[in-house]
């Protein structure tokens, strides 16, 4: 079984230019993932969250299922009722 880490390593070797794309995907995943976890931790449904944001459930679902990468303001709009915020920090 090839793991995700194996795949990343493979791609970085075969096509170094892809490295930044991988990092980018992982950055997005880390943020959206945190969003999903928080919603589940709070035990609220996509519909409830969407209602709190004033947007349809389909929009939340599209983002959580990685069918689209959200706009910055859309992301913030969703994170707000979850008690989450975005912070800028320096790369270590």
């Amino acid at each position: 079984m090839r793991t995700w880490d194996d795949y990343k390593k493979h791609v970085r070797e075969v096509d170094p230019d892809m490295s930044k794309d991988i990092d980018e995907v992982e950055s997005v995943a880390a943020i959206v993932g945190a969003l999903i976890e928080k919603r589940n931790a709070l035990g609220i449904s996509q519909r409830e969250l969407a209602s709190l944001c004033g947007m349809p459930q389909s929009s939340v679902a599209r983002i959580e299922s990685y069918k689209s990468t959200p706009n910055l303001d859309t992301l913030i709009k969703i994170m707000r009722p979850l008690g989450l915020r975005l912070t800028v920090s320096a790369t270590e």
Copy 2:
């Protein structure tokens, strides 16, 4: 002279529903602002940064001048060469 803080206070009183919009605008501004400051601190031009991101200078300018709110992946793409990253944290 009416300050920005005065204006915010005013709007929050007159139209409480606008409060979240103000917070949203400020959240975006905080992130984009950090980006601008970092680029200036590094002393690199929009063109250089854009080149590092593989995008036109006009795209960077549009975002820095708040003519458009960036997509999450576009934002990450720009922050990367600046040594900046986005972090999710809990609202205090």
